[in-house]
């Protein structure tokens, strides 16, 4: 009886949660990463590497100290929290290419999505590297060291 009642609590909680997500107006799409929004182009590390080889401009959305320590070759620092200042410096370069990839710290990091959206508001499209820096390094792709 106790196991049955405990199971009822779990199942009822699950049903309430799914119903709330569907009908409360506060819900979100369950079948995709919560970071992805309409208009986001998310690419896998292999595709990002191919774009790097084709001369894509990479933007590092992590805090500047991380970029200073290590980064994807050629990546420019465009931290989320310093977006306006960095954008003012980088704008001519960003407007000179249609091939931009943004990355951040990965796994739960939203900075690359935020930077890509802010760029989109300014009329610049940038793809987002899925799972960011750790996915890139786990794949064994090149990085450069301290500046």
């Amino acid at each position: 009886m106790r196991i049955l009642r405990a199971s009822v609590i779990l199942v009822a909680g699950g049903c309430l949660g799914l119903a709330w997500n569907a009908w409360s107006g506060r819900g979100f799409v369950l079948g995709q990463s919560v970071f992805v929004q309409v208009g986001d182009e998310v690419i896998e590390p292999s595709e990002a590497k191919a774009r790097l080889d084709r001369g894509a401009l990479f933007l590092d959305a992590r805090p500047r100290d991380f970029w200073t320590m290590s980064r994807i070759p050629g990546a420019l620092s465009q931290p989320e929290e310093e977006f306006d200042r960095s954008f003012a410096e980088l704008e001519p370069k960003l407007r000179g290419t249609f091939n931009i990839v943004v990355y951040c710290s990965g796994y739960g990091c939203e900075a690359s999505h935020v930077v890509a959206r802010k760029l989109r508001e300014k009329g610049i499209h940038a793809a987002i590297l899925s799972e960011g820096w750790p996915a890139w390094t786990d794949a064994g792709y090149p990085v450069t060291g301290p500046k």
Partner: protein, 151 residues
């Protein structure tokens, strides 16, 4: 026996109130909570969404039942099970060196309190162990005289 019934009442209201309160902000902001769940890196993005949608309601329901005094032991058992999962997950996060600055335990807002208090770390594990101990004590306490032992 009087002492036991007061202890039961305190544990029931304390545990129930704690979990009921902990669920409110997460229910109000499921997408923000999903981001936090994913940051723990225990499950992938889609399972993290399901956890974020379901977990707060299980917490709320179990907390509410405890406070109301209905299905008390079953609700405490569910809470104990959740706490075991939380402790194991927090241990996994710490062992892998992942920095989660807001555990999402009470609020989905960015951390204002110090990271040792709000993040995933030893304080969180210690707090959950205390809560787990309270839940286990509550489950094992004999029912006060005149009450059925199944509730």
């Amino acid at each position: 026996m009087i002492r036991t019934s007061w202890l039961q009442l305190a544990l029931r209201l304390g545990l129930g109130g704690f979990f009921l309160y902990a669920s409110l902000d997460k229910i109000a902001a499921p997408a923000a909570f999903a981001r936090i769940v994913y940051q723990w890196q225990v499950v992938g993005p889609v399972p993290a969404n399901l956890v974020a949608v379901i977990l707060p309601w299980v917490e709320a329901l179990a907390g509410l039942l405890l406070v109301a005094g209905l299905w008390k032991r079953e609700a405490a058992a569910v809470i104990a099970m959740l706490l075991v999962v939380f402790i194991l997950a927090a241990g996994s996060v710490m062992a892998r060196g992942i920095d989660v600055e807001n555990c999402g335990c009470f609020s989905t807002a960015k951390a204002e309190q110090p990271s040792w208090f709000k993040g995933v770390g030893w304080f969180l594990i210690a707090r959950n162990l205390v809560l787990l101990g309270a839940a286990v004590v509550f489950i094992r306490l004999p029912a006060p005289t005149g009450q059925r032992t199944t509730s």
